[in-house]
Amino acid sequence: MVEPVAHRSAAVMATVRRPLRRRIGAHRGVIVGGVLFAIICMAVFPGAMLWPIDPTAIDLGNGNAKASLAHPLGTDQLGRDMLARVLAGGRVSIAVGLAAMMVALGVGTVIGVVAGLSRRLDGPLMRLTDLFLSLPLLPLLLVVMMLFREALSEGLGPEAGLFVLIVGAVGITSWMGTARIVRAEVLALKERDFIRAARAMGVSDTRLILRHILPNVASPIMVSASLGIASAILTESALSFLGLGFPPDFPTWGRLVSDAAVYLFDYPGRVFWPGMAISLTVLSVTWMADALGDALDPRRAPPR
């Protein structure tokens, strides 16, 4: 009895998944953007370990060096290797982006599902979402960074504390899009027959949400997750650029651009490479999200 059921469910899954995969395949952006982002992640996480030079190693005799075999991107004014710094900066920037996206996604999904399911909480939660949407977020983030950075760096150490602070602050201020999309999807889903059937069978609320609702809102969540990574990376780099992000000796992409901006005319590469890395990462993720949205929305015609 068990085997045919398992067999059938696998077959059903295959037919359900195939058109989706084909639809995604029809939108090259998903593939190109995804591969690009994967390459950047590979270069930044395991790749940085292969590059032997320490990003913080100061070599004053070898400052402002031009690109060479030993330093493919040259060195900065203190003789620190730029390639190592860009890779280390990317590790922080992408880690912040991913973690902040998870926070935003978690908060947004919970609020969206609760607002969609509960008639009583819908109004207040959507008011809250509108409230957050009409806040001056970057100024608010700056204020939060100013108020809490000392306390958290003392509590958790300068790097871990600021990581938690930045991830938390960026996450808490960017869940609104996810919440709105998830709520709209849940509202539409609530009236569908299979949800009613599940309710009639006496499925508990938790199980209903986990087994029947969340899998069906996964695709819009995926799209807003990709967009969330992009906006978190941009926000973190803006904070670092303004000097309110990580401590000065701790390289992130935004900090590298801001440090190098003074030397822009003499050493344009130092602004160019980290800046390029930010733009390329954000571009790849946005592209992926955009094409994914097109692929998952059957109303939109595929490109010819």
Partner: protein, 338 residues
């Protein structure tokens, strides 16, 4: 009648939003660890320290200070504003919000910084919207054409390049390399005649361009999506089959509906533009609100930080309210059912 009622309701909601925001920003600063007197040297005796706290207005309990701040924001500062305009003496002797650092009324400092921000942000927004609307409409009208694809790629690119990078690169190209435009915004420059106006325009080009590119990218995307959705409607097919020209179909049957979500996005994009303005002002050294905010954050000047952040929220909420009114004018169905 119901429409006016709806309008009053949204105004009330905007007021409530601002009140909650004021409370939140005040509570945030109260809950934050850290003492405003932390900068004072350890050698200062305790009695003096206590007097300094009182002088900063920190003697009262937090709820009293919040009430005082609200009272100052809503009553005393507007009265002081009236005094400045009409030459009356309504706010004389009343406690105004004072900056800890400058020891001057916060509103006077803000009044000195606000015009630059409003000019740069407002102009950038106007330029951005003026480019984005026709761009998005044409893209949707000729979907999948080369123009559409180029436009989509360009707006995605514009979104991906952070303002601090594009600003720095523009300075390098136009100020340092070509030497056409000044890289620093001279706030003290006063416009008296045509040549002054030309100088003013030249120094505004770069900051406005950096901000306008961001706005254009955002709004063009939404315009394209909204117009695309409406182009697929049945009434558009009917209009075309009646033999109306494409221009008439677009102008009469598509644009009005499409503008409803776009107007909302234009208002919702404002927080992002203020964020971009903080960064842009820092790059071009525009002496505006964002610059003031960063400077007072660095100096730990809480009254200024609080008031500037609140003022930005006020500007955003006002823009949302304006968008709400515009949507009601565009779509009579909104609010008709209460």
């Amino acid at each position: 009648m119901t429409r006016i009622g709806g309008l009053i309701r949204s105004a009330g909601r905007a007021g409530a939003t601002l009140l909650i925001f004021a409370l939140a920003i005040f509570a945030l600063m109260e809950l934050a660890p850290g003492d405003p007197m932390a900068q004072v040297p350890m050698t200062v005796p305790d009695e003096v320290r206590q007097e300094m706290r009182l002088a900063l207005g920190l003697g009262e309990p937090a709820p009293m200070r919040f009430a005082l701040w609200l009272w100052q924001l809503c009553v005393i500062e507007p009265l002081a504003g009236l005094d400045a305009v009409l030459g009356t003496q309504l706010a004389d002797g009343k406690p105004r919000i004072l900056s800890w650092q400058a020891r001057a009324p916060v509103m006077e400092i803000i009044a000195a910084h606000l015009p630059q921000t409003l000019w740069v942000v407002g102009l950038a927004y106007a330029v951005g919207v003026a480019i984005a609307l026709p761009l998005g409409i044409c893209q949707a009208w000729r979907q999948h054409s080369v123009f559409d694809r180029t436009g989509t790629a360009l707006s995605m690119l514009a979104y991906s390049v952070p303002p601090f990078l594009s600003g720095v690169v523009l300075i390098a190209v136009f100020s340092v390399w070509l030497g056409w435009l000044p890289s620093i915004y001279d706030t003290t420059h006063a416009v008296r005649d045509w040549s002054d106006l030309w100088v003013q325009a030249r120094q505004m080009i770069l900051p406005v361009a950096v901000l306008a590119v961001q706005t254009t990218a955002l709004i063009a995307r939404y315009t394209r999506a909204a117009v695309l959705e409406n182009l697929q409607m049945d009434h558009v097919r009917t209009a075309r089959s009646k033999g109306l020209s494409e221009a008439a179909v677009l102008a009469r049957h598509v644009l009005r509906q499409s503008m409803i979500p776009v107007v909302t996005v234009i208002a919702l994009g404002l927080p992002q533009v203020f964020g971009g303005a903080v960064v842009t002002e820092q790059i071009f050294l525009v002496n505006g609100l964002g610059h003031l905010l960063i400077a007072s954050i660095e100096a730990n000047d809480l009254p200024v930080v609080r008031t500037v952040t609140f003022l930005m929220a006020v500007l955003i909420v006002l823009a949302n309210l304006a968008a709400d009114v515009t949507c009601r004018l565009l779509d009579p169905r909104i609010g008709a059912h209460g």
